[in-house]
Subunit: 215 residues, 2 copies
Amino acid sequence: MEKQRKRAPSARSLQTKARILDAAEQIFAERGFEGASMRDIAKLAEVQVGLVHHHGGGKKELFHQTVTRRADELAALRLDGLEALKQSGEVSLRGLLDVFMRAYVTLTQTGGVQWHHYGRLVAHVSADPRWRPLAAQCFDPTATRFIDEILALYPKAERQAAATGQVYSVAAMLAFLNTGWRIEALSPGAAEAQVDQLIDFCTAGMEAILTPKTQ
Amino acid sequence: MEKQRKRAPSARSLQTKARILDAAEQIFAERGFEGASMRDIAKLAEVQVGLVHHHGGGKKELFHQTVTRRADELAALRLDGLEALKQSGEVSLRGLLDVFMRAYVTLTQTGGVQWHHYGRLVAHVSADPRWRPLAAQCFDPTATRFIDEILALYPKAERQAAATGQVYSVAAMLAFLNTGWRIEALSPGAAEAQVDQLIDFCTAGMEAILTPKTQ
DNA sequence: GTCTATATGTAGATAGAC
DNA sequence: GTCTATCTACATATAGAC
């Protein structure tokens, strides 16, 4: 259970680092990279400023760690869902977009504050061209995987169209996450209806640009 | 209310202020509010730092001025287009979204660097909840106007659905503007095709959430 | 209106004691 | 690993000469 590499990670140390990453996640999500300060992160994590540098390795490196920490978990969530969908034999465009979005959206809205912060953090990463390489590393492999599946359903569509639709869908999803609606405040049924609406929008839009205009 | 009628705006002064706002537009667009510095803005505008304060009235006020400067022009562009569309008698959902997006998108892509910067600046404003009041002041009136027209076309649709679709459409549009495709680098025909594709996506998505599921 | 000089605060980062 | 103290740089903002 307990990891022991060199000397002693000392459960306390791991716990401290986790607290720092949690704090960084929140501050970065709220104020962006430039707007966040190491001091505010340290204060929220209830540690000294030097410790944030020690565990984070500088502000930029800390930001990278914060983003990548949950990226694998998110990718696994999506790819597992994709695998389950394919084995069900009922692969459809809507089913693919549902798998890609629903678990993530639900998690960021009702899966605890940290995932909520992570949702906003991802919005920053996706919006700022400066983080393009980081975003590519974290999210492109999974996105490409889904685009492949979509193209298998629409053999005559061009890859550019599917990729464009994916970009628009992600943009709509991030808008949904960051528009400030805390859907958890609604009734559970209403929350699901909101997600359904998002998926309806993206499915219809995607299908429109996948099928030849000369309908 | 009115601008200084006291002495003389002195063409040179107006020119200087315009240069400062142009520089601010570019720097804010590239690095966001926190990432931008008054020094960098001054340097790009080729003036002294004090002058940026003098004309801008502090960093926050300068940001507001930069955003609002072109907002009226943009609103007029859209409302004129809406008026023309209504007088043509051929109002459709696609027509409305076309009016709302095409002129703006084309302008930010081929209307000169300053409009290109402004497109990215608007993306920052739209993404950050801190600028919500500013965004509301600049863009909500026009957006509400278009939502009204959409609801007139779909009497049975709920206002929430139209507003949600509008948010997703704007998100897709901003993604289009900021994904880095310089469509001006493409052939003119290809550029128009890209915009058509964006409008296709939004029209289909919007229609999907405006019509009752149990169709 | 424009420039020089400066006031004042805070940022990221590090050294060294414990 | 953790904390205290500090270095250095740069931020916004302003005062006053011209």
